[in-house]
Symmetry: C2
DNA sequence: GGTAGATAGTTGCAACTGATACTATCTCGC
DNA sequence: GCGAGATAGTATCAGTTGCAACTATCTACC
């Protein structure tokens, strides 16, 4: 009806922002991230990167920062700053690596372990609330698809690393 | 085996970062957003917010900025800046709204329409590449779940707006 | 064993984002 | 038609992020 004033070329017929996957993904992620970030910030004074480091350290035990980088997929600068922040609050301890003077081994302090034990249930509760009413198989599929998208994006971005 | 050195409280047993939905969501979204943002920036000098405005304007026709805000879910500051940037490049035109001196009506310029026609196929191609190999029903479910998560996050964040 | 290049981590810088405050205009009630 | 509160949009500021450059250390080869 109003098509006269804005002729859409045939090529764009399939494009609707609301149905555009990168858009949907970004909007959903922002909404969830904002929710979670606010919860951690308000109650524990933690940023998302800090919380991720705590998780990985609690799961994997003491490792160095570059391992944290590859484990979390975050930038090394982000990891560095998050670790500094946590160290300042004595939630983690950094020790020199005798085998490699460049790297520091990072580990949760007892206080950090305690904080983790305190936050983890909250984190799980948020996840549970987000997926309430969804079928577990749907959630599993969702996670699988998300990993797949991440992989595809990495490949399309010209990610190097394996093979060549 | 190494459980001795880091006793995990029972409450945290279910928490693994890799399987934590907010984490998966954020990582996937960041990967995809970075890919798309770089593509638009490199080839067209557009930011993601600018591109979203173009999409909505192409789909919906001339509207004012607050409509753009509710349509895209972006902050009004973000919309304002994106619109200014596009106006500076003459990709959109802002006209006074005679009915309301506060609001400006924003519309794509012919040049903006042309740019949209040029970018849209690229955008669709990226989406197609991302979901290559996935079953269409899976993609549909993914989009549905993402919208659902977004809604749940909004509710949990104490979103007001309807009813009370 | 000394030099070239790789790697761990930090610092500096620029861009983006979001909250707050502000101006201008509108609406409503008196 | 005037003042109080709501709304559209902009400007300002602080915090975050990622890239690039840098330092320090390690590895490998001559």
């Amino acid at each position: 009806m109003t098509a006269q004033s804005r002729p859409e070329p045939a090529d764009t017929a399939g494009l609707q922002l609301d149905a555009y996957l990168p858009y949907r993904l970004s909007v959903a992620s922002n909404a969830v991230s904002r929710l979670i970030a606010r919860a951690y910030e308000d109650r524990f004074g933690l940023t998302i990167p800090q919380w991720r480091l705590i998780c990985v350290l609690a799961e994997d035990g003491p490792i160095n920062q570059s391992a944290l980088v590859s484990r979390t997929g975050m930038d090394k600068v982000t990891v560095s700053r998050a670790a500094q922040g946590l160290a300042k609050r004595h939630l983690l301890e950094r020790s020199q690596n005798d085998l490699d003077g460049r790297s520091h081994v990072v580990a949760l302090s007892p206080e950090g372990v305690r904080l983790y034990a305190e936050i983890a249930p909250l984190a799980l509760a948020y996840e549970a609330a987000l997926i309430a009413g969804l079928d577990p198989s749907e959630v599993a599929l969702l996670k699988r698809l998300l990993m797949r998208l991440q992989g595809a994006a990495g490949v399309l971005a010209g990610e190097r690393g394996e093979g060549a």
